[in-house]
Assembly symmetry: C2
Homo-oligomer: 341 residues x 2
């Protein structure tokens, strides 16, 4: 592969609502050439698009309340919270601290929201540059994000135009004939990260150009990098998911419908092993629901204690993916599988 150069765009002053950002970028980089990748910090895109909201300038509860309201409005789904830190999924699908709302690099009387549609913003900038310079550049709108498991922030792409978000290695083989396990590289995130190395957080270099990179394809914009929450193994914070588990225990259906299906051999043993109650595995009897896989009898010093132990056991079984029904007449707990899990 060829060398790659990352060039900072200097001399861009304060960007204001209504400014023509393509014009500003072309003025700063009249040397933009066919195939260049232009990375623009979302902050200046937001400013040009007028995504500024007045907030009380003085530190204090009113400013905090105004920020909290803005975060609420930008939130599609809360993800995690600890103290003042709120991590949410925005309407764009991005998972971000404070919904990406920023109060740095703006006067104290305003907060900056993310662009409404960063892919569309990237498209507009790309078109504006094409009109003025008659060159086709790829445009990436970048933002700074934290991530689980690793300290420090990195820049990633939240908008893109004229470039594929992912470089797909599926179907490629290495020199040893192995199919490549690294299948899809988020190249626009890597380009955003590379650009950040020459941009400044506070020193007025809100854009950079990467020259020499050959985009693999054009594609669906940065939205292609948004993973559906249902497909995500980390869609909720650990504390929030734990609380969801506790609430699930509080709301276990009294009469789940069992379906035909296997029960992992040791699931019931694991459930019994964590419950501090005297439980007998029995052969069951008449009146059990269809597809009952196991029948348990709880022995306790009082009926209230037995009821508590039954419910504990139901929670432990649920943690193993098993449903259960308490049969009051028989005094037995029927265990099986439901469609839901």
């Amino acid at each position: 592969m060829a060398d790659l150069t990352v060039l900072p765009l200097e001399g861009i002053g304060e960007v204001r609502p209504g400014d023509d950002l393509a014009e500003i970028l072309v003025d700063a980089a009249p040397w933009l050439a066919e195939g260049d990748v232009l990375v623009v910090t979302s902050k200046v895109v937001s400013k040009a698009e007028g995504r500024l909201v007045p907030i009380p300038p003085a530190e204090g509860p009113e400013r905090e309340a105004a920020r909290a309201e803005l975060i609420d409005a930008e939130t599609a789904r809360p993800v995690a919270r600890r103290g003042e830190t709120r991590i949410v999924q925005t309407h764009h699908g991005l998972v971000l601290a404070s919904a990406g709302i920023d109060v740095s690099n703006v006067d104290r009387g305003h907060a900056v929201l993310l662009p409404v549609d960063p892919d569309a913003s990237a498209h507009r900038i790309r078109s504006g540059i094409r009109q003025r310079l008659r060159v086709h550049v790829a445009v990436i709108v970048s933002d700074t994000m934290g991530r689980p498991w690793r300290n420090g922030l990195t820049d990633v792409a939240i908008g893109a135009a004229g470039i594929g978000a992912l470089h797909d290695h599926r179907g490629s083989y290495d020199a040893h004939g192995n199919e490549l396990s690294v299948t899809q590289v988020a190249v626009i995130d890597e380009l955003a990260a590379a650009a950040d190395l020459v941009k400044g957080k506070a020193d007025g270099i809100p854009a950079a150009v990467i020259r020499g990179y050959v985009p693999a394809s054009t594609g669906a914009g940065a939205r292609a990098l948004v993973r559906d929450a249902e497909l995500d193994l980390f869609s909720l914070g650990t504390a929030e998911a734990r609380a969801e588990g506790l609430r699930a225990a509080a709301t276990l259906a009294d009469a789940p419908s069992f379906v035909d299906g296997p029960v992992p051999g040791d699931a019931i043993e694991r459930a019994l092993s964590i419950v501090d109650a005297s439980v007998e595995r029995t052969a069951g009897g008449d009146g059990l629901p269809p597809f009952t896989r196991e029948v348990l009898k709880v022995k306790a010093e009082s009926d209230v204690k037995a009821g508590m132990d039954v419910q504990r056991l139901r929670a432990a079984l649920a943690a193993e993916g098993l449903a259960s029904v308490w049969l009051p007449d028989a005094g037995l707990l029927a265990v099986g599988v439901t469609a839901g899990r």
Copy 2:
């Protein structure tokens, strides 16, 4: 800031156990200069260090079992699992699919483990280059990682020498006098990402040089980017944390010790609202534990049903961070705060 150039290191052949990697890199890049940042893919570092383990070459259960055993051995803590995908925290502290064990770019009879200590590997390469070329370069050992919330993989730094992992903006102010909210940038991750843009996954370019980047500081290696699990809001997969919550419901302490402390105004209301049971908030009576904040009476058609409802309610209260004690003689549930939560 100045321009930055990213240069691929071509002509590096297959690296074998016992090879002197610094020598190989110097041969490929005799032009390495003071201040360059050399990014080396962990795969070739592992190979040079002999981190190859024989596995059955034929696809099938034996090969899978061998891989599973290797993952177990490299795992410090399981994080999440779905189907065949296992995400674990390794002994390095890295959270990685399959513990970072790879079977691509190696003959089918072997799997490649990560270097034992990637920071030490980076140091050795740096020293080897200094001895041969008399230049000080920074060295980053990179690996390819997935991440929550975003599709696609990116390269990050798992080892580093001669460069600070984080660029700290704390204490800086922008032109408007705001303290910068983006405080710590993971620059070695951004450098690893930039290098990946010129490296290939399968085409024998396992290293790249970044020229023109001025390292902010030297520091504690890539280990500085490992976040402690206790400080992480996403230390467990959502499904795993939910199951933990269910298990917590199954093992709620019968006699938690209440401590003095506030109860959020609407916590008990929220707990009651999700439990399908008839509950009365009462004034309580004698024999309540110290620091009892609230007393609840459950009314049910039978004592077993009452016991189940009591336990449901305790789970719902626990989801709000509240502990509870069932007082069998009084038939009341005492609610308060414990030190544990």
